[in-house]
Symmetry: C2
Subunit: 517 residues, 2 copies
């Protein structure tokens, strides 16, 4: 140990300098060299901390936009023949981060999953370090029990009996939806598992026209066929019309198909709309159809006693998809597929792999989860959620979610009060706020002309926004409307001032662009 | 800044002490408080570094085994109503790690995925910090290009033209195999995507009886039916018998089924056997069947010019599953599904989600990968692989893989030379070494009696091993043989002394246990 801070600084610099001549083979686990191992990891952590600190400063640019061809010139992504020194790796980390998009920046409103919860991040760092697989209690004892605890909280939030429920963490909402559809098929026609769709009636399923595309995708993957996934009309707010659902079910039955699965969306991707679950559940009960609720985005609202009424009836569903990496802010990926009835997942997916799921182990093998998954190896998506949830408690989530809902109300109010802004759906029902900005000179145009021009405005504003790098928000058209912006308020770091900033920035870009259009 | 190191120590302790009273809402991103944020993350990193350091010391126990009911008493996994202080979270990290299984310990031989490559781990830490999604260039510009570069290296290793190939990282080998089967179906019957299996002939597929169970699972999920997945006999070394494959194909055709998919396994889960790809490819070409190679485990051998001959013919496959989280040592999960023909993945999976994959973006949208995935959100599994690959270079991998193959040869030789050990398959062809240990007093018994007793020995030895916590190796029976150990040599940290240790430990446990049996 040195006596003087200056000596220590010099020693640190010296250690760091050594990384220029060291390689991966010179540190653990290949060389028993703790000092350099620690220095290397310490330097990487410094890079990450610096990034986190900067990302949270609002003056930091969200991105430096480069076209793919430019980007390839800026950064050398090739895999070399020879090993690269550790110092090069640290520099690569720095460069990669500097060229990325700061999705945790408080003014990044572009995706449903955004923000960077640091407790969850710390959890994911630990997960990488523990580096284990979720298939057996044998190699993931704590995480297997933890998964059950976290699922229990989710079952309770839905309103199910935790003693009778089941569930699994899946790699993303689309795979979770696939799990649900596959299980629903198995429930109605268990023989399909072994004999395939050829031995059962032609199945068909139903979802709103504003649903997530993964429902159609699941129908395609499961061999049901995307054409047998029927899109049901929505009302002007983007909610499934139950009468239209029932008519379609009857039509399908008359045509000889077997309706087996209805998906109600709780928080649609674009409008954040809530399908009327109670009414849909009535119809499902009447026709004995499996009800799935895709609450990938909206599920988090169950944690707010004030707002959970929007999902009324969700407890009547047979299965629910709920992605904690969305509203709850967990690090990507963290998605759960939940089932009201225990046992189905296992019956549907077990393939009895003796080499993995032996029955003569020294512990209760009912804890092994591997045989109820479609996957074999399964990433531990539980720990980052568990740690974050512990950090907030039920009470913390309630506050956080209510805060975001309040921000959304504030933002809508500001849009209504600001010239040039028009809400696509008013009032917005969730944290998606869809709107147009109409530059001043366009406001007097007739409707057809305005619509035609509007289509091009959002992409141009967005492109300019990415160039400036100050903020980011997505846009899209729908079947009837020209391109509009979709604002997402799901990052707990957002303040009212950030929302004001976005409003001013779009006006500024929109007005300056219009001159050239 | 303090002048004296002692002052600084005191200041650090003071900072640390504050964590007892601080909550997640007191640090970034909710409070602009960098100092405490840094302290919290610093404390978590300390816990992780300590774990890494200990895990690499051979005297550290691999696990402290507790039955599920005991474990629930030791650690409080419940989610509280109130937020927990940051200090509690740091302690929770420590406790969770202490109760886990040290899968990176040099004497953990239990899984095909084991070891802890610290460069890959650092990569995964960065991935968590960057926390972005792989669907569009817009939000993952560097990682999207990087994925292509890494895939390019994999295509080249297989022997495909990188300009014409395609691929995607998938969450685990089972999902990668599902991607392959789904794409193969689409290739033969594109109408199945929209119309389902009802409108096409009854499909059937083929794989060896020693394959990974995910092939049957994929047949079940895709609605083909697990009974239409035919297991082909293997020879005494666990390799598919090509003549048996051809006979089964003919039988299926005669029964009116449509053979569409053959899976050859490159490195089976239990024996590490290599199906004869060239001969299987001949048959596939003759009958116009899609050839998939499941090289989830064996794929890494392509990086060794000395050993890659074991996968001869792999370049004739239409698709390949290759998991870098296995032999290449990437952090879980990292699996690729690779395709010889570009475009199929996209045609098969695209569902045209306008709200995500707009065509009027300011860059070349061909770089957006989202529409070729079954998943929507997709975890970034590229960076940890890229950084690790850079750290080793092609040359480093060659050495590492050859080193492991040499260790396996050494281990087999030692088993042959040690009384009581018997190889199940001799010689082993890969890094799986399957063996029995026959305690001294049993060696004179007749075969039937010996077999009956052998069935119980491996589980008992394994249970004792877990109690001692000194080492870990898996076991399983097969259809003809009683329980045997399956040794896996895939951790780059393993030395000859570790292998000697295992051999001695099993003798020691086996002999002491036999007294009581």
């Amino acid at each position: 140990m040195s006596d003087q801070p200056n000596d220590q600084l010099a020693e640190n610099e010296d250690r760091k300098g050594r990384l220029a001549k060291l390689f991966a083979t010179d540190i653990l686990p290949q060389s028993n060299n703790w000092e350099d191992t620690e220095t290397f990891l310490g330097e990487v952590v410094k890079v990450l901390l610096k990034y986190i600190c900067e990302e949270n400063q609002r003056e930091t640019k969200i991105l430096e936009f480069h076209h793919p061809t430019e980007m390839k010139k800026i950064i050398d992504l090739t895999i070399p023949d020879e090993p690269q020194p550790l110092e090069e790796l640290v520099k690569a980390c720095e460069q990669v981060l500097s060229l990325g998009v700061r999705t945790g920046h408080p003014r990044f409103f572009n995706q449903i999953s955004c923000g960077l919860d640091l407790v969850s991040m710390a959890g994911e760092w630990l997960t990488a370090t523990a580096n284990t697989n979720m298939f057996t209690y044998e190699i993931a004892p704590v995480y297997i029990l933890m998964e059950k605890e976290v699922l229990r909280k989710m079952w309770e939030a839905i309103g199910w009996d935790p003693e009778k429920s089941d569930g699994i963490f899946a790699p993303g909402g689309a795979i979770a939806n696939l799990y649900a559809m596959n299980t629903a098929r198995h429930h109605m026609f268990p023989r399909s598992k072994h004999l395939g769709n050829g031995e059962i009636p032609i199945l068909c399923c139903f979802t709103s026209q504003d649903c997530h595309y993964s429902i159609k995708s699941a129908a395609s993957v499961t061999g049901i066929g995307s054409d047998h996934c029927f899109y049901i009309k929505t009302d002007s707010g983007g909610r499934m019309i139950p009468e239209a659902l029932e008519q379609q079910i009857i039509r399908c039955k008359n045509e000889g198909m077997q309706p087996f699965f209805v998906c109600a969306t709780a928080g649609t991707t674009v409008y954040g709309a809530w399908d009327p679950i109670e009414k849909i559940a009535d119809i499902c009960e009447r026709y004995r159809i499996w009800l799935h609720v895709d609450a990938a985005w909206g599920g988090g609202l169950l944690l707010s006693p004030e707002h959970r009424y929007k999902l009324s009836g969700i407890e009547r569903a047979q299965s629910v998809t709920w992605n904690p990496h969305k509203l709850m802010g967990a690090i990507l990926q963290c998605s759960a597929c939940l089932f009201r009835q225990d046992g189905l997942l296992f019956q549907c997916n077990q393939m009895s792999a003796d080499y993995l799921f032996q029955q003569d182990k020294p512990y209760d093998v009912n804890y092994d989860t591997g045989d109820k998954a479609i996957q074999c190896g399964r990433h531990n998506d539980t720990f980052k959620l568990w740690l974050m949830w512990k950090s907030k408690g039920m009470e913390g989530y309630r506050k956080q979610i209510n805060y975001l809902m309040d921000l959304a109300a504030y933002f809508s109010e500001r849009l209504r009060a600001t010239d040039g802004y028009e809400l696509v759906v008013d009032p917005p029902e969730f944290l998606n706020i869809c709107f147009w900005y109409i530059p001043q000179k366009m406001r007097g145009l007739d409707l057809a002309e305005k619509m035609a021009r509007l289509e091009k405005i959002a992409p141009k504003i967005k492109a300019k926004m990415m160039e400036r790098g100050t903020t980011m928000v997505g846009y899209q058209p729908d079947k009837k409307r020209p391109n509009f912006f979709r604002m997402i308020i799901s990052n707990q770091a957002i303040t009212r001032a950030d929302l004001d900033f976005l409003i001013d920035e779009i006006v500024d870009i929109g007005e300056s662009l219009y001159e050239t259009m």
